[in-house]
C-alpha cells in the first residue's frame, strides 16, 4: 500500500515460530436453544515479536478471540496454539500475561504488592525468574509511588501498575484487552507511546484489542480486522509505517490515508 521501509525488529520470515496460531476457530455461547456464534472459522497467525492490534465493530468477537488465546473462554471448534502449545499449558507456563480494560488492581494492596501478585500465586516453576518489581514500576513512570494504594492513583497510573504487573513474569506474549479504553485521550496517547517503546525494548509479542482506528494504526505493526455477525476475519494487514513511531506521525498524510482506508473497510464489516 505504502512503500515505506519497515524498520521494525521482527526477524525475517521463517526464522521463528509464530507466537499464536489460530486455526478454524469457532466459539459459540449458550445452549442449543439459544446458541450464539461469537467467532466463525477464524484462522490467523501472529508472528513472534510482532505487535498486532485487533480492530472491529463492537460484537465482532475481538475480545472473545483474545480471551480464547488466554484460556478464559472455551473453544467450541478448531484450535489455538500459543508458542506451539495449548492455551492452558501456555497459561500454566506463564507464557503470556493479560492486561484488562480495568486495571483490576487488588485495592487492599499497594502498587508494588500488586506488581508482586503474580510471583505469589499459581503453579510456579521453581526456576522461574521474575523482573524486579521496583524497576518495573520505575519503567512505567511510577518511581516513588511504590507504596501508594490504588485509590490514591489516577486511572492512568493504575493501568501503568497493571502493565508492570503483567511484565513481572517476563511473558513472551502480552495480551491487552482495550487497556486504555477508559482513559482520557492525553493519558491514552502517552501510554500508547510508552507501550511502543516497551515493545521495542523487550521484544515481547503484543496482541492489542481496540475499537479506535487511530490507535490500531499507530500501535500496530499488523492490524487484524474482524467483521461482526458472526465474528470473522476481515483483513490481516501490515501497517507500513516506520518504527520508532511518534505521536506526530498521526498528522502525516500516510497515516491519515491508512486510517481512511481502514474506516472504509470497517464500514463494509
Amino acid at each position: 500500500m505504502l512503500d515505506v521501509v519497515d524498520t521494525s525488529p521482527v526477524p525475517p520470515d521463517g526464522e521463528t515460530k509464530p507466537a499464536v496460531t489460530v486455526r478454524n476457530l469457532h466459539i459459540r455461547f449458550g445452549d442449543k436453544a439459544s446458541e450464539f456464534t461469537a467467532l466463525k472459522d477464524v484462522s490467523v497467525e501472529i508472528p513472534a515479536g510482532s505487535l498486532v492490534t485487533m480492530l472491529g465493530p463492537s460484537g465482532c468477537g475481538k475480545s472473545t478471540l483474545l480471551r480464547a488465546v488466554a484460556d478464559l473462554v472455551h473453544i467450541s471448534d478448531g484450535s489455538i496454539a500459543v508458542l506451539g502449545q495449548q492455551p492452558r499449558k501456555a497459561r500454566e507456563g506463564r507464557d503470556f500475561a493479560f492486561v484488562f480494560q480495568e486495571a483490576t488492581l487488588l485495592p487492599w494492596r499497594n502498587a508494588i504488592d500488586n506488581v508482586r501478585l503474580p510471583m505469589e500465586v499459581g503453579k510456579r516453576d521453581p526456576g522461574a525468574t521474575y523482573a524486579d518489581p521496583e524497576q518495573l514500576l520505575a519503567m512505567v513512570g511510577l518511581k516513588g509511588r511504590e507504596k501508594a494504594m490504588p485509590h490514591e492513583l489516577s486511572g492512568g497510573q493504575r493501568q501503568r501498575v497493571a502493565i508492570a504487573r503483567a511484565l513481572v513474569t517476563r511473558p513472551r506474549i502480552l495480551l491487552m484487552d482495550e487497556p486504555f479504553g477508559a482513559l482520557d485521550e492525553i493519558t491514552r496517547d502517552k501510554l500508547n507511546e510508552e507501550l511502543l517503546r516497551l515493545w521495542q525494548e523487550t521484544g515481547t509479542t503484543v496482541l492489542f484489542v481496540t475499537h479506535s482506528i487511530p490507535e490500531a494504526v499507530f500501535l500496530g505493526q499488523y492490524v487484524l480486522m474482524l467483521a461482526s455477525h458472526p465474528g470473522r476475519v476481515k483483513e490481516f494487514m501490515k501497517i507500513d509505517l516506520p518504527h520508532p513511531r511518534s505521536l506526530t506521525m498521526r498528522d502525516t498524510v500516510e497515516f491519515i490515508r491508512i486510517t481512511a482506508h481502514m474506516r472504509g473497510l470497517l464500514e463494509e464489516c
Partner: protein
C-alpha cells in the same frame, strides 16, 4: 433490622486519615459534635425540669440527679451484674459471627448447601428472639448457655447475609486475573475473596456488637438471677426506678463500647478504599 446492612454503593468505609491528630483537629472534632452534645444536654435538662416542675414521683420517673445518685449507691451491684452480661454478649458475638462466617464460606463454595440451608437460616431468623429464650432455657438449662446462644443467634443472620454478599463481591475481572495467573481456589479465597469481603463483614460486625448486648439482656429476663437483664427486672418489680434507669444507661454504654471496639479494629484492618469505578 434489615438483612442486608450494606449495599454495594454504600460499601465505602471511612478511611483513617494519616498522621498525628493535632490539637487543632481535636478542636475541630469538638466543634463538629458540639450541636449533638448541646442537644443531649438540653434533653437531660428538660427531663430534670419536667420532673421538678410537675413533681413526678420518683418510682414513676426518676430525675437525672436521682439516677446519678443511684450510680454511686449501687456501683458494686451494677459492676457485678455488668460482668456476666459482658461475657455473654462477647462470647455470643464471637460464636455467632464465627459460625456465620464459616457458613457463608461454605455457601459461596457450595450452591447446593446455600439452597438447602439458607431457608432454614431465614426461618430461624424470623422467630422472635424473645420467644426463643424459654425454649432454649428448657433445652440447655438456666446457666450461661442460653444467654450466649441468644446473643450469638442475634448476631448470626446479618453477618451470614453480609458475608455471603462480601465473598461474592470480587469483580469478575479480578477472578479472570487470578485464572490467568493459574491461581488455586485457596489462593483466590485468601488473596481476593476474603479481603474483598472485609468491608461487608465489618458492617455486619458493628451491628452485631450492639445487638449481642440486646440478646444477652433479653435472655437474662427469662429466669436469671444475675446480669443487667436480671437487674432490670428486679429493679422494676421493686419500684427502684433510679437503679432501673442506671442499669439501662450501663447497658447502652456497654453496647456503645463494643461498637467502638469493632470500629477501631475495622480502621486498623481496612486501610484501603474499594473503588467504585476502576
Amino acid at each position: 433490622m434489615s438483612d442486608t446492612i450494606q449495599s454495594a454503593e454504600s460499601k465505602v468505609p471511612t478511611i483513617p486519615t494519616k498522621g498525628v491528630v493535632s490539637g487543632e483537629r481535636l478542636f475541630g472534632h469538638f466543634l463538629d459534635s458540639l450541636p449533638a452534645v448541646l442537644a443531649i444536654a438540653g434533653c437531660i435538662l428538660l427531663w430534670q425540669l419536667i420532673v421538678w416542675g410537675f413533681s413526678v414521683p420518683t418510682f414513676m420517673a426518676p430525675s437525672p440527679i436521682a439516677v446519678l445518685y443511684a450510680f454511686r449507691e449501687n456501683a458494686a451491684i451494677l459492676w457485678s451484674n455488668l460482668l456476666p452480661t459482658l461475657m455473654e454478649a462477647t462470647l455470643g458475638f464471637i460464636l455467632g459471627n464465627l459460625i456465620a462466617v464459616l457458613l457463608a464460606v461454605w455457601f459461596v463454595y457450595s450452591p447446593m448447601a446455600e439452597k438447602a440451608f439458607y431457608p432454614i437460616a431465614v426461618i430461624i431468623k424470623s422467630i422472635p428472639i424473645i420467644a426463643l429464650a424459654p425454649i432454649l432455657v428448657l433445652l440447655v438449662g438456666n446457666g450461661f448457655a442460653p444467654k450466649i446462644i441468644i446473643a450469638g443467634l442475634i448476631c448470626f443472620f446479618p453477618t451470614l447475609v453480609n458475608m455471603v454478599q462480601g465473598l461474592k463481591s470480587a469483580s469478575p475481572a479480578m477472578l479472570d486475573l487470578m485464572r490467568v495467573l493459574s491461581a488455586s481456589n485457596a489462593e483466590i479465597f485468601w488473596k481476593v475473596r476474603l479481603p474483598a469481603s472485609l468491608p461487608f463483614l465489618f458492617a455486619a460486625l458493628k451491628i452485631a456488637a450492639t445487638s449481642s448486648v440486646m440478646g444477652a439482656i433479653v435472655a437474662e429476663w427469662i429466669g436469671s438471677s444475675y446480669g443487667l437483664g436480671a437487674l432490670i427486672i428486679e429493679a422494676t418489680y421493686n419500684f427502684r426506678s433510679p437503679l432501673l434507669y442506671a442499669t439501662v444507661v450501663i447497658a447502652a454504654a456497654l453496647a456503645v463500647v463494643l461498637f467502638f471496639t469493632v470500629s477501631v479494629v475495622e480502621k486498623k484492618v481496612i486501610r484501603w478504599k474499594p473503588m467504585a469505578s476502576d
